[in-house]
Symmetry: D2
Subunit: 392 residues, 4 copies
């Protein structure tokens, strides 16, 4: 086994990426959803699908949950989740509260000028913390979709303080080893101002909130041209990098498959993590994508494989040599040192790793020939057919 192969195998041994429960359900754009017969509806179906992805890839042992959709009765549903986790051998990952779906949240949730609405949102967050405790989950992922659509229509300034109040309450409720992850996003669903628009705002909020508050990087939540790996480096420098929501994009928050549009960028992100993280395994890598055309299962397996491949490429960068070349400003050589790893074809080594772990060499092919897709389509088709949602 060559030096590269060893490092690739070593990297894959420790690489895990969390699946999102909502990634198995039908999703779409504001113009409608294309229904898939195989889409999961119940939480059990989502666990089953996640288990299948993990069986095929060996790299996705946990499932992020969405309170509103997966635990509609809140903490009362925790027991069911525990049973499903045990049954399917899939761990419950991060908990995701929902601050955008209730009609009350029209003018904001935790930033709403109406105190009563903020209280509803706070209660929901506190219940989410309770759920996380009940299920032994470390991370509460907070996406605050609040914002405004028109200059003047809301007070940017006062909403900051309302947010800080709620965050303080959530932080106080966290258990010893729990964390809150604060996500940022420049726009959508709000189109003039989003209350947490960039990593700077998330950082200030995390700092002001307390030591258990960190920043969550969703790779699709940036401006065009923004250097995401640099932000990751700064967050690592400040010891505030809480985790990732991975996806790719060409225009806005397109929620495409990781590495499908700009694979070199995700490689650079992993490279900065390898270069600067105290403990790579402590950083939660989570998938957050919305596939409205690709098959749900196919897309998820493909994503995990992409992630493994690009992670493996980043693992074999000769960082010691690179550091020396950077020191001497030997620009082209340093650049080529980095690219050497990017262009190396890691796929044979990954196939070998899979063989040695009793996993199919080609997980996508294995999915197609497994019969699983036929099975779930037959089981789920009827219910999905009833659920057509239209734009009008």
């Amino acid at each position: 086994m060559s030096r590269f192969e060893e490092r690739i195998h070593h990297a894959l041994d420790s690489f895990q990426i969390e699946l999102p429960s909502w990634g198995f359900a039908n999703t779409g754009t504001r113009f409608g959803k294309f229904q898939q017969a195989e889409a999961a509806t119940s939480i059990e179906e989502k666990f089953a699908d996640a288990a299948e992805v993990h069986a095929l890839t060996g790299a996705s042992p946990s499932l992020a949950l969405h309170v509103e959709w997966d635990l509609p009765n809140g903490v009362k549903d925790a027991q069911q989740i525990r049973s499903l986790a045990a049954k399917y051998g899939i761990r419950a990952g991060a908990i995701n509260p929902n601050l955008f779906e209730r009609q009350e949240y029209k003018y904001g949730s935790i930033c709403n000028p109406d105190k009563a609405v903020r209280a509803i949102a706070t209660d929901h967050l506190l219940e989410s913390v309770e759920i996380a405790k009940a299920l032994g989950m470390r991370d509460v992922s907070l996406w605050v979709s609040d914002g405004s659509n028109y200059p003047g229509s809301q007070s940017i300034r006062r909403r900051i303080d309302w947010m800080l109040e709620v965050f303080a309450a959530v932080h106080a409720a966290l258990g010893e080893r729990q964390r809150m992850l604060i996500e940022y996003k420049p726009f959508e669903p709000a189109f003039y101002h989003t209350d947490i628009a960039d990593w700077g705002m998330a950082l200030v909020l995390a700092r002001r909130t307390g030591p258990k508050a960190t920043v969550l990087v969703d790779t699709g939540h940036h401006y065009q041209g923004q250097n995401i790996e640099q932000i990751v480096t700064w967050l690592l420098h400040e010891e505030l990098l809480g985790g990732f929501h991975f996806n790719d994009r060409k225009y806005a928050d397109d929620d495409l498959t990781l590495g499908s549009i700009d694979p070199y960028q995700i490689f650079r992100i992993f490279h900065e993590i390898f270069s600067n993280a105290a403990d790579v395994q402590q950083i939660p890598f989570m998938i957050d994508q919305s596939h409205n055309l690709k098959g749900k299962m196919e897309a998820m397996v493909q994503t995990v494989c992409n992630a493994q491949e690009i992670f493996a490429k980043a693992a074999i960068v000769d960082r010691e040599r690179l550091g020396g070349l950077q020191d001497e400003a030997r620009l082209v050589e340093a650049e080529e040192c980095l690219r050497e790893a990017f262009w190396f074809d890691v796929r044979p080594a990954i196939r070998e790793w899979r063989r040695s772990h009793g996993i199919a060499e080609d997980p996508l092919d294995a999915l197609r020939t497994s019969g699983y897709l036929e099975k779930i389509r037959a089981e789920r088709r009827e219910r999905n057919a009833k659920a057509v949602v239209s734009y009008a």
Copy 2:
């Protein structure tokens, strides 16, 4: 009456902007819709709302229709539309086919690699032409939302020819004085490639299709930084400007109120139209917005008022003097000559124009005190409450 006032009144006399029937219905983002008690559901409600907006502003005598939502039975519904138009004194404006909502369109409508799906889409377009003929409408607005989400997943090249085939069929079906308006959009709902992504593609399609094919400019369908007024000028130069879908945006296709984010840009667009159009009145100005927070009626009245104000400002530019300053490259003076009009407060003159036409001086205020909102909320609340649509 001053010189400016006269020109403002003259401009307003001829200014009309078309309302979209879908602008009175509940719409939202992919994260959900906030239901409004006052939202219109039936086509009659949409006509009623449009009539109210026109009564308040005197500038919106026509209503764009959406085939799928307003004429679900196709040309059979034409008689009903005619009756409503007569009853409410609102003309049926452009007809809008729908190429995105059917499940068959998952991989495209007129660009779908499956001939059978292209045939469905073609039939729908031909029926739309029939409707337009039946109702005496001149313009068929074609938004082709087709595209693909991933490199390689579809053939960019072959889809061009499929599109051309369908457009040829539609063009052949158009009546003597009918036109087809080809809309372009860079992304959404497709996120890697959209088959008609920019005005260049729309122009090529229009040229290849025939003399009744023109280009439709939706102000929200551009890249960041793109100079829209320049595109308008080129389309006028090429005699291919078919009309406008007006809205404003800060990030993507945000579908915000016209002039709410960058009023100077819309002023410049109107200025280029005044400078270069053979007949300003022949260019259809249409509203295409999606208000998920603002009240539907309020937003529509506000939009028409904004449009009147900015159109009035553009009307009073001293274009003769401006041309001379441009010729001599007196840059600052030329710029100030343009801005002189932008900064002029046209509101008093517009109030005067309204008074002289028997319209309320402040249409937004008149709407609030008219009782209309209370009336429709009471009538429509119950049905709207039942129609809650969620993201999950």
Copy 3:
């Protein structure tokens, strides 16, 4: 005098905007410079021009200086500056060190992997502090143009610490009431990563450096779509807003005249300042523009007038009423409350203010008829003609 007029006059009484010495010199793009006969070369010419702008506008009593260009002998030139300031009645404003022009800075100045180069840069910064002390200037404006052009070619991470070391040294040298302003910029002249790319990085640096370190907002240094007024609000919230470099842009760092592309945006920035700043007068407003086509003097006078107009508009927003409407989420009314001020024509009130202060009502016109332009063109033409700089 109406209520609006009073508030406008009051606002103008306190409004000052600082001129940049380099704004009177020839500048251009990487494709070349168009020489102006009137361009200033010597520091005396720059003071003279600034004095003329102030005489015409009554709003620009200070001149920002650039160490490399205005004090080539460093602190030894301080006496000359003092004399010129006295002679022309113009105060020396912020001091601007130069970290981009020396050949040594090819791979960075304070982020250069070579310690010897970092020492050169540090010395230059410390000398700049000395100059500021010698001239009684409060603010040292730090634009760190460092970065890299290619992934891998430099270590993003290690350069952060080098920067922090130098900033600590500069901070230690600052006098009691002095401040350092840390500027951020996403790109140019570096095209892959810029060491201080956004306000988040500048904020972290300022926080880590000490209480005299603040953040400088250059309005042209943002991503497309970024909400600048929101960043201003956050910096005010964190008490870290150090000042502004004003200009406008459509694409990149275009350095155009303030308010020339998007006047509504600059209005919103001023509105947030009025809403949230403890003391508006303590925030340095500085011009940083590069006019390669407009006449230098004309452009500067026009800029000050634009700034006065937009500042005046922001001054008359009825913020009390606005707050109430925001509280009740009366979106359209709140928006209209803000726009009411934007659309108000402040020019008559400003003309009146000028009259009452013995200033020409139309400063641009006064400049053209003053004979000043003819005078300096005659004096400076010959020298400028010799200084042609080409791209090749």
Copy 4:
């Protein structure tokens, strides 16, 4: 030799990329230039450097020339160029007129409102055609950098017609087999409007000008997010693709090394060319980059190698299989079919190709050990040291 290797060798046999003479000279940003001892100044030095790059890579047998810098005496210098071409075994490639450097072009060259300036520009273009004829060059590359910086300062509309007039004159002067290539660019050096801002405008101009007029795609001249390969496909569809100026960018027209920021994008461009071009070899691939940090020679050799690698990857796409998968909308399989080629490590096959052609396996390494760099640095250092150009 495997199937892939054969196709790679076949592709490389026909692959050529043209070097820009200005790529060997010192260039920089508007903030200054970092002087390189090795930079070429004379046209002979540029030919010598190009010959060295071609000797090392076997893929760059021609040199694009810049009239203003390489033939300062116009057609009189043609004989010298012929001699140098013969001496160095490098063909003169496309001719590049210069429409931005003369002081007369301040308000535009061929779009200048002053007829006399348009005449100067026209004469220069006609002389460029003469040069091209004298040297047997097929292509005249036209970059019209004209535009305006402020709304209103110039007439967008009238400048279109002035441009068309000049283009007609140039077209009339072209020889039987000559072509004019019309380049587009959204901004820089103009910042409000650029007269040829996008491919749509270039296409209209080419169509109106005549059959010898085509469109030149500079990969750095697009909006953020724009799908360049789609534009290439449309230009091929319209038989108007004239050629490429290759470079890469992250933000604006950064002129970085091809494939250094987004290698997947350039792969997709080559893939569309392979898919749709009648004759790939007829499309001129030209480099247009501005390296202000990387060594001039190093950067150029690296660029050619990058281009070979990515071209080779695109060559091995299984386009027949891909077409079938696209037809059946098997999205993930089609995507993976394309990516299969992208991820294949072509470097061993390319090394083998080089060996078989008597070229060094690693051209960058060969450059470093060749002694060429030391030689030219010694010869050129002194002159370059004198040429320091500053921003001030």
